[in-house]
Amino acid sequence: MKTFKSMLLAVSLMVSGYAVQADEVVVYSARNEQLIKPLFDAYTKETGVKVKFITDKEGPLMARLKAEGRNTPADIFMTVDAGNLWQAAQEDLLKPVNSKILAASIPAHLRDPGNEWFGLSVRARTLIYNPNKIKPGELTTYEDLANPKWKNRLCLRTSKKVYNQSLVGMMMNEYGEDKTEQIVRGWVANQATQPFPDDTKAMEAVAAGLCDVTIVNTYYFGRLMEKKPNLPLAIFWPNQSLKNNSAGVHVNISGAGVTRHAKNEAGAIKLLEWLASEKAQNLYADVNMEYPANLKVKPDAAVAAWGTFKPNLINVAQAGALQAKAVMLMDRAGYK
């Protein structure tokens, strides 16, 4: 038996890429490498703790966490979109974290009510319009884009993108399925062309005059304008004067949680707390022109120049819970 054990050890050392180490945190991330590596490098420099990470899409990462079960090397699961985080919690891949620092740094609507995940940056989905074609007073709400007066003036990104799914999910939260479906049908009818595969293409179509307005995440707008500052595009914050649950600009998050079977739970929580701290939040949000989740931190100057807005304050977890239903609704409405 003893020889067998030592043989097993020998084999495992030969084929295994890694061994458990105390002084490092392992992250599975669906947020891109170029957006997280600068942060992890800074963390290692400051604390000496190494951060090992691997990137993939959310779906495969969650399937991987599930398959690895209690033996997963991952301490943290990081991703974009509250829907994915909600799903990870739903599948029992995350564990609750009771951290006073996180509770104080991250507003309640940007974290899981059960404390299994925390938003680390805010992604606002707003309206981008062509000022040569639309007068400032014309735009009001997302819902209003279903009005026939926008016929052939609207460009949309595909419904397959999660940002649109969570936007529709949030509307369902206020209006219920039937009314929301009517709104989405209105959008579909008002499209000037078939949906685009990404936000940037939709904005370029607005700039080129193919349509007048589209719905995009602000950081895509920021990136595009940085490259082509002369495009006739302007930002509008919708739903600012509504009083219902749909009030405010729709926001989603990128965020993270500690995995259910984290080996280095304490280290994982420390890293999350650091990511939520004032010094890290600037870097976290600014690399992608997003908004910091920590309200004490001001957004990047270029981002701040777009003006302030009232965000929707319903907990982002709601969108996750309604995501599958939202997808079905958009399918029924013919939103491709």
Binding site: S16, G17, I54, T55, E68, N71
Partner: protein, 554 residues
């Protein structure tokens, strides 16, 4: 690390040599089929857990459109790659026209570009907001451009990206034919055109079909290209169920249906092939005369080849180079050496493994040409038809299961924690690649082996050359071109591969393909140009090698 990487390859070689003598063809074939069937079964097990609500929804609102879309795509791409691939293969293999030498390898180059990148470039150029359309509008007041984001557009781009599969396999087949049969036909008074359709084409059919099935399997499994077009296919539904409705079971069920569909097609093709024999005894490629095209015909041949080369490769590459020059200063750093090295190593070792396994499977089938064996061989090569991410998960679940067993047992015995044993190792990565790309290696190898007739084996036997000696002295020289073709295809496919690479790579083992992923997943397509160009450059190596060595004999 290096020792661990080499192990499976060396193992594969001894596997091949031992296979026929010691274990028998069935062992080889069943082992390879199992390697593919385990992940496929893991996926198919989801059938036991139907998600009624999602199914009802998909059935009513999603599948009708998708099935029509998928059918059109398969038909369009199928016809397109066959005509384009076979036509170009005939031109460069059997005819002489200005630029033939250049085109004979240059027409393979589109293989080195990921199809979704080509798609993005073409949409970028031709769509309403694109460079060409904007220029036409601003300078000439022309508001019409071809509607690229359409069914025709997606078919066109996929044909341009996938025709090299048929081109390569058909060309190998035409080269092996020699021209004597054709000359014989012509001497019997058959026109040159008729001789092509009645003699050359039927003999090359297995090769053409091999390339066509690769192209179609890739079409069915594709997600990247159709997403760029927002053209919904069956694969779209698979990913929609998984990523958007969070139902991996529903996604797996759809994938299982897809795989049964592919299996049925493949078996149908096999049946039709069994009714005909294509042993080609009139070889003698040496000194074969090419058909010299003159005047208008030569100009047309050169023009056509140039057009395909421009559309499928040169224009997309130029666009990528323009984007690259914009971001090179900020993005190109020393890490690119690592990325390129990782890509090169994985693709090299992976191609070697794929070709070895394909050769083993090919021999198993040759030695036991029974229907049961043919079915087993088909099953072993099914991985290519599954959407990559689904296959990756199906592969990873059992790997993690074995790891868990080892780790848990170890913990029980020693009270010590150890890390994953197989997960995150190159060994698993290479195995996973071979489940996905065995078809890519097997296609050319199978057609190559079929051209070695029993009489040749018998002649060798009479001369006292048997067993291993026969393999090395008689078969391998004859299999040179198909083996090189198989290796080149597997190499470039692994270079471009994403889902398996993402899921199974060790920490820190980023490749050029994963760089493309990092950029495109947040919509930064222009920044993805740099790794895409790098993939293209590294992917050129095997293509040059392939053409240099396969052309040396004709």
């Amino acid at each position: 690390m290096i020792t661990a990487e080499k192990a499976p390859v060396a193992g594969a070689f001894s596997f091949v040599s031992n296979a026929s003598s010691r274990f028998g063809p069935w062992t080889v074939a069943l082992a390879l089929a199992l390697l593919t069937l385990i992940p496929v079964t893991v996926v198919a097990l989801a059938m036991l857990d139907p998600d009624q609500a999602i199914w009802d929804h998909l059935w009513r609102h999603v599948l009708p459109e998708l099935l029509v879309n998928t059918l059109w795509l398969v038909i369009g791409v199928g016809i397109g790659v066959t005509v384009l691939g076979t036509g170009l293969a005939w031109l460069t293999a059997a005819c002489e026209f200005p630029g033939r030498k250049f085109f004979s390898w240059a027409l393979l180059l589109p293989l080195a570009l990921p199809a979704y990148v080509t798609a993005f470039v073409w949409i970028g150029l031709l769509d309403f907001t694109g460079g060409l359309a904007t220029w036409l509008r601003d300078s000439w007041d022309i508001t019409w451009t071809p509607p690229i984001r359409s069914r025709g557009g997606v078919i066109l781009v996929m044909v341009l990206a996938l025709y090299p599969y048929v081109y390569l396999t058909a060309r190998t087949a035409f080269q092996g034919q020699g021209r004597r049969l054709l000359e014989a036909a012509q001497s019997l008074g058959v026109s040159r055109r008729r001789a092509f359709f009645r003699v050359a084409l039927p003999i090359a059919r297995p090769g053409i079909i091999a390339g066509l099935s690769l192209a179609l399997m890739e079409t069915l499994a594709d997600f990247g290209t159709v997403s760029v077009f927002n053209y919904n296919t069956f694969t779209t539904a698979i990913y929609k169920a998984w990523f958007s409705m969070f139902s991996l079971p529903a996604a797996s069920q759809l994938a299982t249906i897809l795989i049964f569909f592919v299996l049925a097609l493949v078996m149908l093709e096999q049946l039709s092939r069994n009714s005909a024999h294509y042993a080609n005894s009139a070889r003698g490629s040496g000194g074969a005369r090419r058909i010299r095209l003159g005047g208008a015909n030569a100009a047309m041949a050169t023009g056509f080849a140039s057009l395909v080369f421009l559309l499928a490769f040169a224009i997309p590459l130029i666009q990528l180079l323009i984007w690259t020059s914009d971001i090179m200063v900020s993005d190109l750093d020393a890490r690119y050496f690592d990325f390129a090295w990782h890509s090169l190593l994985l693709a090299g070792l992976g191609a070697l493994l794929v070709v070895s396994l394909a050769l083993a499977l090919g021999y198993a089938q040759r030695l036991q040409p029974t229907p049961g064996m043919q079915l087993t061989a088909r099953l072993a090569t099914l991985g290519y038809a599954l959407p990559g991410a689904v296959l990756a998960v199906g592969f990873y679940i059992p790997v993690a299961g074995i790891d868990n067993l080892i780790i848990d047992t170890w913990r029980d015995w020693t009270r010590q924690e150890i890390g994953q044993v197989f997960g995150g190792t190159l060994f698993v990565m290479l195995l996973a690649y071979s489940t996905r790309f065995l078809a890519v290696g097997f296609g050319p190898v199978e057609t190559g082996l079929a051209r070695i007739t029993k009489t040749m084996d018998e002649a060798a036997q009479v001369l006292g050359t048997t067993g291993m000696k026969r393999l090395f002295r008689v078969h391998l020289p004859m299999l040179r071109a198909p083996l090189l073709a198989a290796a080149a295809l597997a190499f470039v496919d692994i270079m471009k591969e994403l889902p398996i690479t993402l899921m199974t790579r060790p920490f820190g083992w980023d490749t050029l393909a994963t760089r493309v992923f990092e950029m495109t997943s947040e919509g930064e397509w222009e920044r993805a140009a740099l790794p895409a160009v790098a993939i293209c450059l590294v992917g050129l190596l095997p293509i040059f090698f392939l053409v240099k060595h396969s052309d040396a004999r004709t």
